[in-house]
């Protein structure tokens, strides 16, 4: 059952593609950001599942444990979580400003508004 031993990787791929699809298919900017977060989270799952050592415990000093999982990918993913959080925060802040400036968070409506603006004012003011 090779399929089952690779279970976490399959889940990472499913998560990643779900996130990627959400980014591309939805028009709502907030939903796009949710998709983007899923996309980033799948990479964290990938790193953490790859760092698992057979019979290894979590990489924290424990009584009686001799085999530990690889701690380095865990540490890298702590940084990646911070990066993902910062991206989400900046993205949501921009969405709030977009809502204020355009009155909508739907991408197709924003594109339509932009097109009206540039074809209405020839001078691109």
């Amino acid at each position: 059952m090779e399929l089952m031993t690779h279970y976490p990787y399959w889940m990472a791929i499913v998560l990643m593609m779900t996130g990627f699809y959400t980014v591309m298919a939805t028009s709502n900017l907030v939903k796009k950001l949710i998709g983007l977060s899923m996309f980033q989270t799948s990479v964290m799952l990938f790193y953490v599942s790859a760092s698992k050592v057979k019979f290894g415990v979590a990489p924290v000093m424990t009584e009686g444990a001799t085999v530990y999982s690889n701690p380095l990918p865990h540490v890298l993913m702590l940084t990646a979580i911070v990066v993902g959080l910062a991206t989400l925060a900046v993205g949501l802040a921009i969405v709030v400003r977009i809502r204020g400036a355009y009155g909508t968070v739907e991408e197709d409506e924003i594109i339509a508004l932009d097109r009206d603006q540039s074809s209405g004012g020839r001078n691109d003011e």
């Binding site: 983007l36 990938f46 380095l72 990066v83 991206t87 993205g91 921009i94 977009i98 001078n123």
Partner: protein, 512 residues
């Protein structure tokens, strides 16, 4: 050789960024701090360049005293040192310009945050250049990208917000792709230090994981470089960003990503694997040719001048990747020259447009700059000179780099590419000429009667950069010598038999 000057240029702006925000109540403190920091950083980068150039040895710094491969290493070779000088000196030269431009375009209470974001962006870019650790590269990439999303979103046109959001989406997807690539590399080699990865990849027979890592890196970096067809974020982002930021981002944003491409292909995967095994030449050439043509043609028909220059950037990125894709030493040094030349010309051009934006009070278009040649003679003339550099006229830096690029294509016998470069240079003549025609031969409208020349704090940076463009044309030999030394270091073996031969080894089930 270990030196603290390798680490200080990254930490100084990182430390100064929060100070800008904390001291925001004291008038212009943020600008004064940024000014001091950028000039100090530029001085340190020049110093380390002089050191590396004289000794021929890279500068190294071990973060926290941990020796590599366990600790993070900063590693500044000649390529990194010259990129550091480019990025930090453009930041330092444009900083006096910020004073008027930022006052004009950014709300007073936002200004400290603006300077903080700019310093973070600078720190991130310098970090990408200096670091020798693959994961560190990703972190610095995200620091600089997040800061530049903020900077772009501060543009006063509401389209700046939409552009920043689009850039955030594509940029994050690109960076995440790079993160996956780093993951694959770490899982196969067990190390994150770049030279360590490189030696272990050489020993390992190339396997699917390494090929997958290369593919993820390629997609992520091409997104960051804004190579066609992944350039969609660039035109709006540069066009609607505040006038003070566009010159800096246009000059060094994509250039640092190109530096990352060179680092990853040459220092991590190695020349033979990237160009021999993975057919990077075919990929880069196939993407660079439409980038050059489409970027130039769209620029001709664009009325918003900042967007016009942004599309011209798409074409220029095409030239640079074309040179890298030729996989020869001449091609590589032509690309390096083009990186430097384009950074200086584009920032001078964007600075000139920013000065016109200040005086006109709105976005600069072909229509509203009519007659500005008489009202703002110095700014307009700098635009013309830098425009000549962009076209590649003799006695400008552009001529040297284009000459070498054409020479590289002829050396390889790809004369169709030589013709392509010539044709797109003619396109460049057309879109620069439209501006010149409007500025010098257009009729002055009644409202522009009151327009005065740009203030000295703006003229000095514009002319300093324009002067650099001309200087590069006269001191072409020195620039060529440095770029050839870098190309020698990156590509010790002369060149591959035929980088354009295509036999797909992966499809046959065997590994390259």
């Amino acid at each position: 050789m270990t030196s603290d000057f390798a680490a200080l240029p990254i930490f100084l702006p990182l430390l100064a960024a929060p100070i800008c925000v904390i001291l925001s109540r004291f008038g212009k403190t943020a600008w004064v701090i940024s000014m001091m920091v950028t000039w100090a950083v530029a001085a340190m980068c020049l110093f380390s360049f002089a050191e590396v150039y004289a000794s021929g040895e890279p500068l190294k710094y071990h973060m926290g005293g941990w020796a590599p491969p366990i600790g993070i290493e900063l590693h500044i070779d000649l390529l990194a040192a010259s990129m550091l000088v480019l990025v930090s000196s453009i930041a330092a030269i444009t900083m006096p310009y910020f004073f008027r431009s930022v006052n004009d375009e950014i709300a007073r209470e936002q200004q400290p945050f603006f300077y903080a974001a700019f310093l973070m962006c600078l720190a991130g870019l310098l970090g990408i250049i200096s670091t020798h650790d693959a994961f560190n590269l990703y972190v610095f990439l995200e620091i600089s990208s997040l800061a530049s999303y903020m900077l772009i979103a501060m543009g006063r046109d509401r389209r700046a917000l939409a552009a920043a959001f689009q850039y955030l989406m594509l940029g994050t997807i690109g960076a995440t792709m790079i993160l996956i690539g780093i993951g694959f590399l770490y899982l196969t080699t067990g190390t994150l230090n770049m030279s360590d990865i490189a030696t272990r990849i050489d020993v390992l027979a190339p396997n699917r994981a390494i090929i997958a890592a290369f593919a993820f890196f390629a997609i992520g970096l091409v997104m960051k470089v804004a190579l066609f067809p992944l350039h969609v974020w660039l035109p709006n982002a540069y066009a609607y960003a505040p006038s003070a930021v566009s010159p800096f981002l246009a000059a060094v944003g994509t250039k640092v990503a190109l530096y990352a491409v060179l680092r990853i292909t040459y220092s991590v995967f190695g020349h033979e694997f990237s160009f021999g095994g993975m057919h990077l030449s075919l990929i880069f050439t196939a993407l660079a040719v439409p980038a050059i043509l489409i970027g130039s043609v769209v620029a001709i028909f664009e009325t918003n001048l900042k967007r016009m220059l942004a599309f011209s950037s798409v074409a220029q990125v095409g030239y640079i990747t074309l040179g890298i894709g030729l996989a020869s030493q001449t091609g590589l040094s032509a690309s390096l020259l083009q990186i430097f030349n384009h950074a200086m010309t584009k920032s001078a051009l964007f600075l000139a447009l920013g000065a016109m934006t200040l005086r006109l009070g709105s976005n600069v278009t072909v229509h509203n700059i009519r007659g500005l040649g008489k009202r703002m003679p110095l700014t307009a003339f700098a635009f013309v000179l830098a425009g000549l550099g962009l076209i590649g006229m003799p006695f400008t830096g552009g001529f040297v780099s284009k000459w070498y690029l054409m020479k590289a294509t002829l050396d390889g016998g790809w004369w169709l590419l030589t013709i392509l470069i010539a044709i797109s240079s003619i396109f460049a003549v057309i879109y620069i000429w439209r501006v010149v025609e409007a500025m010098y031969f257009g009729r002055l409208s009644a409202q522009s009667e009151t327009i005065r020349e740009a203030p000295p704090s703006m003229l000095v940076p514009i002319w300093l950069l324009t002067f650099c463009v001309i200087l590069l044309g006269f001191f072409g030999n020195e620039a060529v010598e440095i770029s050839q030394r870098i190309a020698d270091q990156l590509m010790p073996s002369p060149s591959l038999p035929d980088p354009f031969s295509f036999d797909p080894p992966i499809l046959n089930g065997e590994m390259p």
